[in-house]
Symmetry: C2
Subunit: 541 residues, 2 copies
């Protein structure tokens, strides 16, 4: 499976440089490429306890993405899924450690423990105060003597980060980190393994199966289960965590393992927030990618009991943009629907003249059904005539319910009627046309101007204007000519409709997908309908 | 391809509820499920211009994730890739619009234009001030009369959001949005299409190919190209954007289309930051998922010229955690490597007695090579004897270069020598052991206590302690007995080593992966080596 990388050899350095180049100058790196890949705070003055983490890459944003005020001072990055060397860790320690000392936050993998451990020894030999904590939060294998370190590491970065930022001493910071590690637990599940650059993807998890308790390097999980849905997947994870969740309030990290979409993560957040198994989870960090496993399609949940102190540490704002913050889990706030969704029913009123004109319009459209359909078959799906006929029949049948004596209300009511009886876009467009015309009437405009205001609005909403081979080509000149009499309007409409026959590619509506050669020589059916309407009205008057 | 959802019918409402439940009470929704899905600010007092966006779902965090202070007031969410209804949009408008009016920010799709457009008409009929802008930033099809709206929409959310937040009037906010829309341009590329829940995935893009200019609903791109690498992919995208990038400074949005990993996105950020085609891009928003297309493995770049005013609007901090902020693009800051990475070479000094003891130790280990290998073959890869012999030979050859008269320096130098000559974990463990012993010597501890300090450190770093079937089982009792004489130490070491034969599953090191039945009855080879060392020394003294 191809990925957006250049070559395996420069993958991690390219990514670190990309991070630095877009950090707004908040991050720096040591001049040790390719062997030594250390990202550190650019503004660090060594006045407080330094926090250093790291390990193999492929878990971004962990750890370099969490370097910044209130979290890590430096991240020592290995190649993908490979521990950084002793020299790299030592370089990181020596670069950022001042008189207050430093804490190394290490995930429990032999390579990391040893390389960070030896680097710590060497740094101590230089007289530095160095302490080290090992995160082993993974509960996938309950009897494993050396549980792996996974996303719970973020609790440590954040709690220790807040303490160090506040000026706490190395012992206090170390103790807080150790306490958090003792009490946290994590487990992950995934629908697929991860794609390690340069290696073939392991097809271990069959489609339709999920793996529970797999590692962040794609290590096989404790069990494969049939994947049912998000609820069931979260339920299995919480079942494993439940024995670790005590009676008091807890915080959960909901971590995206790589390629799970924001939409899926929100669904999982909902399942976590509403599961009876998680009733003591009162705060959540995420959902967000925090400790990923390349492109793994999965998630993990980490839990930690919270007291007032570590709640404050977890809540404190930080520099790194990758930190999603912690929020209280709450019931969704639901507000009542506003009034006015159902349009106000107009009060019927009589106006024989208006009624007669409207009836004429309807009859003209009904009479043109077959010919308009035929025309539409050249450029669309051949239903313009039928659509208009259906609407015209419905409108004709509704005239006795219409506020015929009040143009403002009438225009709005016609729009409403058409939006209900005409399907799809055409109904909405005519509803907008008549609605805007009604508004213009209300503000005192004469009817031709009001109709032009409606036209302007549908042009704006639909994105079409004169020359785009739509009904506008006939309607606009007709409405502009209307103050000079219906005969002039009809003439203008006809000229406009006929002009569409020589227009090339349509610029809006469905005809825009039809090749030019199919259109040339035929009037646009919408424009033709308008022309016939005005011609018919002119004839009758 | 399975996804972490429950059922298609509740996908969007589940996700919205998940968003709300983890928003810390900052978001609310209208009581219109399942038809009306409107997310709005919980703290909104209608005192300023309201900003409303939305459209089909599947683009998260757009748009509900950008509801909050300084960005959107409300998001109207349709089903996946389907426009919300007129009623839903109208409900959103009526719920949040006060006397200052509202701006609808709509992506250029017919359904969205019409539904938002008609809802705007209806809201205007209620007397609300409503304006609407249509984002059409996609330049994939240069001659398309109705370009699609894609990730550039975020520029509008942010600029209009900052202005509205600052109290600007509806006209000013609308004008700023329109200006931004006029000047922006976007294009995306992907290695795969997206998986629409409930539909089979379209296998349109062959592995090894990339599609350029595809839409955020998986609409086919303008062209398929052979995918080479991240640099080439970014280059193709920038080639399309280059004609749209003017002479002044620009800002780019680097958008993750769904399932591209943070590591890949950082590599792409590096390519964008360093491309000569993007030399006028002085600021970047992201890389981050902003306007996704479900799980599409791709990215898009949007560009906009910046002046002082919109730079300030884009930089202003906001409520929504999904907004990644804007940073200046800068060269990576590179700091010199710290001094001290090369260990200080010890000054050789003579001490015949120490030299003799060390030579004896080396000879004892060399003599035990074959037997230790044989023992190791029961539980490991059969090389303990060879590994120790290689190290012993190297150490023996280095004795004349050693600071034999200074225990502190000697321990450190022995550790250094062993870490260089022994491969893998064993070298690092012994380096840590002797390094910590050296430190303890330096602080005045006698040699047995110093060695115990070393043992404590490797126990801490390696995670093993007595009883875990490692060399510690012999070394710890031996060192504890050492103050009572070498004979007692040898006796204790032998007892400890023999005790490992009855230990079950190893708890650390490689033997922890070996079944219990293979281990029982055999001494741990590391512990055996320690016992032979002490027994040999006792015999010789």
């Amino acid at each position: 499976m191809p990925q957006f990388i250049n070559e395996k050899e420069t993958l991690v350095t390219d990514a670190i440089d990309g991070l630095l180049e877009t950090s707004g100058g908040m991050l720096a790196r040591l001049d040790g490429y390719p062997h030594i890949k250390v990202v550190c705070r650019a503004d660090w003055d060594k006045s407080k306890v330094a926090l250093i983490s790291g390990g193999g890459s492929g878990h971004e944003p962990a750890h370099a993405g969490f370097v910044g005020e209130g979290m890590l001072t430096a991240a020592v990055c290995g190649e993908v899924f490979a521990s950084p060397s002793v020299d790299a860790v030592l370089a990181g320690i020596l670069a950022v450690t001042g008189p207050a000392g430093c804490l190394l936050i290490v995930k429990n993998y032999t390579g990391d423990r040893l390389n960070f451990g030896l680097a710590a020894e060497r740094a101590r030999a230089f007289g530095h105060k160095v302490s080290m904590v090992v995160v082993d939060d993974d509960i996938a294998l309950p009897d494993l003597p050396q549980p792996r370190g996974v996303a719970g590491t973020l609790f440590v970065h954040k709690i220790a980060g807040a303490l160090a930022q506040a000026g706490a001493g190395l012992e206090e910071v170390t103790k807080a980190a150790e306490t958090a590690i003792t009490h946290m637990a994590s487990i992950g599940t995934s629908l697929d393994t991860c794609t390690v650059p340069g290696s073939a993807k392991e097809d271990r998890i069959a489609p339709g199966m999920a793996e529970l308790g797999l590692g962040i390097h794609g290590e096989a999980g404790v069990q494969q289960v049939v994947f049912k849905n998000a609820k069931d997947a979260m339920d299995l994870v919480l079942e494993k965590l439940e024995p670790k969740i005590g009676s008091g309030p807890h915080v959960a990290i909901l971590n995206n393992l790589g390629s799970t979409t924001p939409l899926e993560m929100s669904v999982l957040a909902h399942e976590l927030a509403t599961s009876p198994k998680a009733k003591n989870i009162k705060h959540m960090i995420g959902p967000a990618p925090l400790m990923t496993s390349l492109d793994m399609h999965g998630f993990s949940v980490s839990v930690l009991p919270v007291d007032d102190l570590n709640q404050a540490h977890l809540e404190a704002s930080v520099g790194p943009a990758a930190w999603p913050g912690m929020n209280a889990v709450s019931e969704p706030a639901v507000r009542p629907l506003p009034d006015g969704l159902s349009p106000i029913k107009p009060i019927p009123s009589a106006n024989p003249k208006t009624k007669a004109v409207l009836e004429q319009c309807c009859d003209l459209l009904i009479a043109a059904e077959a010919e308009l359909n035929e025309l539409d078959a050249k450029s669309g799906d051949g239903d313009t005539g039928s659509t208009l006929t259906t609407a015209a029949k419905a409108l004709k049948g509704s005239l006795d319910r219409m506020p015929l004596a009040d143009p403002t209300q009438l225009f709005r009511a016609v729009g409403e009627e058409l939006s209900q009886t005409m399907g799809g876009s055409s109904g909405v467009i005519l509803a907008i046309f008549f609605g805007a015309a009604g508004d213009a009437c209300a503000s005192g405009k004469p009817i031709p101007k009001a109709l032009l205001a409606g036209l302007e609005r549908i042009s704006e909403v639909g994105g079409a204007s004169k020359g785009d081979r739509t009904m506008i080509d006939a309607l606009e000149p007709a409405l502009q000519a209307l103050p000079d009499g219906i005969a002039n309007a009809a003439h203008a409409a006809r000229e406009g409709a006929n002009a569409t026959a020589s227009m090339g590619r349509a610029k809006a509506g469905r005809a825009s997908y039809v090749p030019e050669e199919n259109l040339i020589g035929h009037n646009d059916p919408g424009a033709e309908a308008v022309a016939r309407l005005f011609e018919g009205l002119a004839k009758a008057m």
